[in-house]
């Protein structure tokens, strides 16, 4: 048994001991449901329609059988036309019928059965025994794009062409003892057939059309195009009462073998199709003008030929689109290169590529002995990514098969996200179709995967009473505009999350829980709901969901454990609470949630979601905009028209008790926010004034004429927050219409930035001094302890000499110094968060000022290291690789490699391996100089 074989996707047995002809199988869309069906017809006259895409793919054939009807004559051949009609060829008549889908009352989705309606029937004049039909072919003969005609070939070699219910042509091919296969070549508008003289003959349709009688050609002229060609016809009296004309062939290619089957394919990367002819022992490739281009001897007896478009994974979306557009237009979906699939009599399948190389060999997948000859192979483009082969064998088994050792369902899964970018209606339909077909299989194979999703409703006052059910949540998210602004689409391989925050308690409650201060602190809280749901059958008993929040947010519970997947219909939800720690300005609003779980194969897997905290966690709206007392001010220009502040910050307006009308009026031009931290919070404690605290405020003013936004604030960190929020909201707003380009014309606020750098440095120096003092003091304390201990153990101890007093004082000193360090650490944290904000602001202003690309700015941002707080996490300041050291080093690296390289275009300098550790700089001069140089170098004006 071979390892390489075709895999069965679906199969059924037709009837009981019925016989089938070579053309008794067709596949395509035949009804109004738009789903692919397999049509089969037996010589006993049974016409059956199957649906291979049953959702649960039951082996029970009764469910997939949609139509079974007995026609009054044997079925020789079946074809599915473009107009979703079935052409049925009987020995003495041609029947064209359509199907309409009927559904049960109970289920509205699934088609339960089909109804067959005969459209028209052509009876052949069977006066002579030779006039029975042999085969037929469909095509848009004569270049008409809107209709398909049917050509019927009879046993005595004469052909009749029908256009709907009108017979338009009747001709006789020359030298015909027995009819051969016939195929229509669209690109040449001709028929190729194999004649008994072992050669391929080609008949132009125009030559056929021209040689008709005048009255018949007149009818054709209305529909098709006619070219005046020289008369090639010889009138012969035929044994029928009509006169038939014998047409001479356009060209004849002598291949020396009887042809079994024809195919039209794109071989060898040319734009013109070639004719692929399967001989008894050889495969021939003939160009449309009759030149034998290539041949390949076969080691076996071939029986059937099938042309299949290549479906490499790279070309997959393109193929899908083409399928969608061409599915109804031509029977052969033409891609760049086609593969040729040849079935052999010994149940062998060869797949040849465009260079006639054998790229795949399989045993037919038929486990029964070799008595089976596969003969009817059709390529359906409709099922899935890979083409399925529908195979009917002579015992009446219909199989849908695919190539490959892996199930097909794995292929479309990977490509799902790529297609979702711009789904047109047809493609969406395709996707749903494919999902329907692949979903059961997916669950079988890649059994389980966990999804987590974060979602929240709009601001709610009485959160306790709010019952969270999924449906309402959907409604809320559909109606609320904030969704757009806070939606972060994280495309994580094939899962798309949308993250929303549910915000409540915008009126701060009083709480004593604040860990940083003794006095009562107003608390601002938000919560986010994380939804965890899983696909697949197995449950994940222990999924750890961890939320990684920025440092200014306090979370009482960071990790939760949940069981997912017990009830698959309902997602599990977890609620996380975020508390804003008041004195610290926020450097980032981004929160990441990660779920860790073990798959069924006990591999550790992750699912993640990112969400953005709301602005309201940081500030509240002021009823009247203020424009005075603004120490810091920047202006951003945009290339789109100005947006009213009310529109942009609609969610913030909901927080206040003001009526929306007044608010709307007030917030048209300008909007002010009051931050939860005060100006004193931002200053070092040494120079803090005893005067009443003033909350930091920020104001946004929009200028309609210049479509620019001016942002002013009393503190630098607040400026960053507002800038960030404004830019994010603007980008979201213009996302659908091509994005917005923001520019910043003024010089960069380097001096203010350097001030925050110096501040941070100073706090670190202070901490260092305090730490060294504590070190000295504790050393002294230990020495005293030791001496006392020696005296205690000594047999005859000397006098204590006030050592006890000294020890008590040192202990007091130690405690004092420790509290000083605690204070200094708090100071450092304060300055670090300010520095983080300023760094972020500087980076984004650099982005807007120099118009850098997103990639470039991400590079610079990673070197600038805005996440200052996380660098200060060590227990001791000494020995810490703080922000200054790291930033200094990375600035030097940036200057050496990235920025200088662009100018010199030399080979990249490898980072020198420096053994030296990062030393704490005594001054920040070099760092400041380097940042200034970078800003200078980035300037395109220079």
């Amino acid at each position: 048994m071979s390892l390489f074989k075709l895999k069965d996707w679906w199969s059924t047995t037709l009837g009981h001991r019925e016989q089938f002809s070579g053309g008794g199988l067709a596949a395509g869309i035949i009804d109004n449901s738009g789903k692919p069906r397999i049509v089969s017809g037996s010589l006993q006259g049974w016409l059956r329609v199957h649906n291979p895409l049953m959702p649960n793919r039951t082996p029970d054939s009764t469910k997939s059988l949609l139509l079974e009807v007995r026609l009054d004559a044997p079925i020789y051949q079946l074809k599915v036309g473009r107009a979703h009609a079935i052409a049925v060829l009987h020995p003495s008549k041609l029947r064209v019928c359509t199907c309409s889908a009927r559904t049960n009352q109970g289920s509205s989705i699934e088609t339960s059965h089909l109804e067959l309606t005969a459209q028209y029937i052509h009876d052949f004049e069977v006066t002579n025994i030779g006039t029975h039909a042999f085969s037929m072919c469909l095509g848009s003969f004569g270049g008409s794009t809107d209709r398909e005609m049917i050509l019927v070939q009879h046993m005595d070699g004469h052909v009749t062409i029908y256009d709907y219910d009108v017979e338009i042509l009747c001709h006789c091919f020359q030298d015909c003892l027995a009819p051969g296969p016939i195929e229509y070549v669209q690109s040449a508008d001709a028929f190729v057939t194999s004649n008994v003289a072992m050669s391929i003959a080609c008949y132009k349709f125009q030559a056929l059309a021209h040689s008709t009688n005048q009255d018949k050609s007149a009818s054709l002229q209305t529909s098709g195009t006619l070219i005046e060609a020289k008369d090639k016809c010889v009138v012969l009296p035929c044994n029928s009462n009509k006169t038939r004309r014998v047409v001479t062939a356009d060209w004849i290619c002598n291949v020396g073998e009887l042809i079994l089957s024809f195919g039209i394919a794109h071989v060898r990367m040319t734009s013109i199709c070639q004719i692929v002819a399967l001989g008894e022992h050889t495969l021939f490739i003939v160009s449309v003008d009759g030149v034998l281009q290539a041949s390949k001897l076969m080691d076996f007896h071939p029986t059937s030929l099938c042309i299949c478009p290549t479906f490499g994974i790279e070309a997959w979306p393109r193929v899908l689109e083409q399928c969608a557009s061409e599915m109804n237009s031509s029977p052969h979906v033409c891609c760049d290169v086609d593969n040729i699939i040849v079935y052999g009599s010994d149940a062998r399948v060869y797949v040849l590529n465009s260079a006639l190389q054998v790229i795949w060999v399989a045993c037919g997948g038929v486990s029964k002995p070799l008595s089976i000859s596969l003969f009817s192979v059709l390529c359906t483009t409709l099922t899935k990514a890979g083409m399925m082969l529908v195979v009917l064998d002579d015992t009446g088994n219909v199989m849908t098969q695919f190539l490959g050792t892996e199930p097909v369902s794995k292929v479309p899964l990977n490509k799902l996200s790529a297609i979702q970018v711009a789904p047109s209606a047809t493609v969406r339909e395709f996707l749903s179709l494919r999902k329907e077909a692949t979903s059961p299989r997916t669950e079988e194979i890649s059994a389980a995967r966990l999804f987590i999703r974060a979602r929240a409703a709009r601001a709610q006052r009485d959160i306790t009473k709010y019952q969270f059910d999924q449906k309402r949540c959907f409604e809320a998210s559909a109606s609320n505009e904030i969704i757009k602004s806070s939606k972060i689409g994280v495309q994580n391989s094939n899962i798309q999350y949308s993250a929303l925050i549910r915000l409540y308690a915008e009126t701060p409650g009083v709480s004593n829980e604040g860990p940083w201060s003794k006095k009562p602190v107003e608390r601002v809280t938000t919560s986010a709901l994380l939804f965890a749901s899983c696909s697949g059958e197995s449950a994940f008993p222990k999924a750890f969901v961890t939320v990684n929040s920025p440092s200014w947010v306090h979370m009482p519970k960071v990790t939760m454990v949940t069981d997912v997947g017990r009830e698959t219909s309902k997602p599990h939800w977890l609620e996380f609470f975020f508390y804003a720690q008041k004195p610290f300005p926020a450097a980032t609003m981004r929160v990441a949630a990660i779920a860790k779980y073990r798959s069924t194969e006990s591999h550790i897997k992750f699912a993640s979601v990112a969400l953005r905290l709301p602005l309201a966690l940081n500030c509240r709206l002021q009823s009247t905009p203020q424009s005075q007392r603004a120490a810091y001010k920047i202006t951003l220009d945009t290339d789109k028209e100005a947006v009213e502040m009310f529109d942009l910050f609609a969610d913030m307006l909901l927080q206040t008790d003001m009526k929306s009308k007044e608010l709307r009026f007030a917030a048209q031009q300008a909007i002010s926010f009051e931050f939860h931290f005060t100006t004193d919070d931002l200053l070092p404690t040494a120079i803090a004034k005893p005067s009443p605290k003033v909350q930091v405020t920020g104001t946004l003013i929009v200028s309609r004429h210049t479509s620019s936004y001016s942002i002013q604030s009393t503190a630098l960190p607040a400026l960053w927050l507002l800038t960030n929020e404004l830019c994010t909201r603007l980008q979201c707003r213009w996302y659908d219409r091509g994005g917005v380009k923001i520019s910043y014309k003024e010089p960069l606020p380097l001096s203010d930035y350097f001030a925050s750098v110096d501040d941070h440095h100073a706090t670190r120096v202070a901490l260092r001094i305090a730490e060294s003092a504590l070190n000295d003091a504790s050393h002294q304390f230990r020495t005293i302890e030791k001496r006392l201990l020696i005296r205690f153990k000594d047999g005859r101890p000397v006098q204590i000499n006030h050592l006890s007093l000294l020890m008590r004082q040192t202990h007091h000193n130690l405690q004092r110094l420790a509290s000083i360090i605690q204070h200094a650490q708090l100071e450092r944290r304060r300055s670090a968060s300010i520095l983080a904000c300023s760094t972020n602001l500087l980076v984004s202003l650099m982005h807007f000022h120099f118009g850098l690309s997103a990639k470039k700015i991400a590079n610079i941002s990673s070197h600038m290291n805005p996440d200052v707080v996380s660098l200060n996490l060590a227990a001791r300041e000494v020995g810490l690789a703080g922000w200054e050291e790291v930033a200094d080093m990375s600035m030097a690296f940036l200057l050496k490699n990235n920025i200088m390289r662009r100018a010199s275009k030399s080979t990249p300098i490898k980072p020198a391996v420096q053994a030296a550790t990062l030393a704490f700089p005594s001054t920040t001069d070099t760092l400041k100089k380097r940042i200034a140089i970078i800003c200078h170098k980035l300037d395109p004006v220079k």
């Binding site: 048994m1 079994l260 050889t282 290539a294 007896h301 006639l356 790229i359 060999v361 000859s373 003969f375």
Partner: protein
């Protein structure tokens, strides 16, 4: 059913390669309508396709057979075990028998040996031919190209009356219209070839190639040149064909075969590999490469090719036997025994496999098993000279000198072309002091294989002894 329906059914059966049913239906039509041209045509086609054989391959029979197995045997490597020393080459003989699994896998040789002139007449009389060949009016058919072609194939493939076919070809080619038809020239050449008129066949094939470049003709021409013993010309023809038809793997296989016959192993391998690029599932190329690696002492590589063959579904005693040998030589003795087991399960004639198992026993040192295996091999095939020879050596080791001598003698009787029994007998006689017999036997060993060094040494020794006497 009307006759039209019957004809349709006949065509359908023909399309499905159900030739017997097709012929039966045609006969039925002809009973009612004896003049039905279509029925005659379809019946001709059905009969000739049923008995069709792929005659592009070179037949192995005949006096100019270049692929005789015994020549191949003489270049076989010797396994280097001391005990098996005298019997070594018999080992490789077994492998060689299975080198080309062509006979198993290719359809072509299903119909066996290609017909030679002698059995043509027999075939013609044995099957009931429905056309009276002697009364055929060729002139009548010559005007109907289609019918003529069908009848020509019928004559060549089914009736095998080459002379009549030749007459038909001559008649047709008299017409001006068919002068340009390569097919007739190809058939002409086929007839000439069958009749042994190689030069005429060559001329016709060259003419045919000028009309239309077909791979069939190229292969036919190369075959004619091989028959004329001009392998280089055949190679040239094939190379030219490859230039024009680079996608045809059969031409490359043809080149590889000729190189193989000329003992240009490297080039032969190269072309087999080229053919595999075009058709990665070509069984012949895979088998040849595998056999070649085996003889080049790379049994592991050879094993890979055989495994590929197994994956492709080629199964049979030969392949399992070969895999077993590969495993044996790559010292995977347990695997080897398993493979031989499987081979035994499939095999009809298991003597060779048992012989190989015996060999395995010798190299494992399990003389008892070896003895048993050789005995079984002998019981299955009385004339297995290698087994006899090895049994002789084994009984020599068991100090049964008389039995050993009788084994050697019977081995000599069974296969006089094998030199090992001669040498072994000579050695035994020399050890026993029977110089006269020893000299006679070593002389006959040297007559069979002149290059055998040990025999020559023994003969020198004997000559020295005799001279001293």
């Amino acid at each position: 059913m009307t006759s039209s329906d019957l004809l349709w059914m006949a065509l359908m059966h023909f399309r499905r390669r159900e030739h017997d049913q097709c012929t039966a239906i045609c006969t039925e039509i002809l009973r009612t309508q004896p003049k039905s041209q279509a029925a005659i045509f379809v019946k001709c086609r059905a009969l000739s396709s049923k008995t069709w054989i792929d005659d592009t391959e070179l037949e192995r029979t005949g006096d100019t057979d270049l692929m005789s197995e015994d020549i191949a045997v003489s270049v076989m490597p010797r396994p280097g075990t001391s005990i098996a020393h005298p019997t070594s080459s018999s080992m490789s003989g077994v492998v060689n028998q299975y080198v080309r699994p062509v006979s198993v896998c290719r359809i072509t040789s299903q119909s066996g040996v290609s017909p030679t002139l002698q059995n043509v007449t027999m075939a013609a009389t044995s099957e009931g031919s429905y056309l009276d060949i002697t009364n055929l009016e060729f002139l009548e058919f010559a005007h109907q190209t289609a019918m003529a072609k069908a009848i020509c194939d019928y004559l060549i493939y089914f009736v095998r009356n080459i002379k009549q076919a030749l007459r038909l070809c001559e008649e047709v080619l008299k017409k001006k219209t068919s002068l340009e038809d390569w097919w007739w020239k190809c058939r002409f050449a086929k007839c000439y070839y069958r009749l042994g008129l190689y030069r005429d066949a060559e001329y016709q094939l060259i003419c045919s190639l000028q009309n239309q470049n077909m791979a069939l003709n190229v292969l036919g021409l190369s075959k004619v040149y091989m028959r004329l013993d001009q392998p280089n010309t055949a190679l040239k023809v094939l190379q030219k064909g490859i230039e024009k038809m680079p996608e045809e793997s059969h031409l490359k296989i043809g080149v590889a075969r000729i190189y193989e016959m000329m003992y240009a192993t490297c080039r032969s391998l190269l072309f087999y590999k080229n053919a595999l690029v075009l058709d990665a599932s070509n069984i012949e190329a895979l088998a040849c490469l595998a056999a070649n690696y085996f003889y080049e002492h790379q049994p592991e590589l050879s094993l890979r090719y055989y495994r590929r063959l197994l994956q492709m579904g080629v199964s049979g005693p030969e392949i399992w036997n070969n895999i077993g040998l590969c495993c044996f030589y790559s010292s995977q003795l347990d695997m080897a025994l398993d493979c031989f087991d499987r081979s035994l399960r499939f095999a009809d004639d298991a003597a060779d496999v048992w012989y190989n198992i015996g060999h395995l026993g010798i190299s494992m040192g399990d003389f008892h098993m070896a003895h048993q295996s050789f005995k079984i091999a002998l019981s299955l095939n009385q004339s297995n000279a290698e087994a006899l020879c090895n049994l002789g050596v084994l009984s020599l080791y068991a100090r049964n000198i008389k039995i050993a001598r009788s084994y050697f003698i019977s081995a000599k009787e069974v296969a006089p072309t094998l030199f090992q029994p001669h040498y072994n007998g000579a050695l035994l006689a020399y050890k026993l002091g029977n110089l006269q017999d020893s000299f006679a036997m070593v002389s006959s060993a040297l007559r069979v294989n002149k290059a055998h060094v040990d025999s020559r040494e023994l003969k020198n020794n004997l000559e020295w002894h005799i001279r001293a006497l």
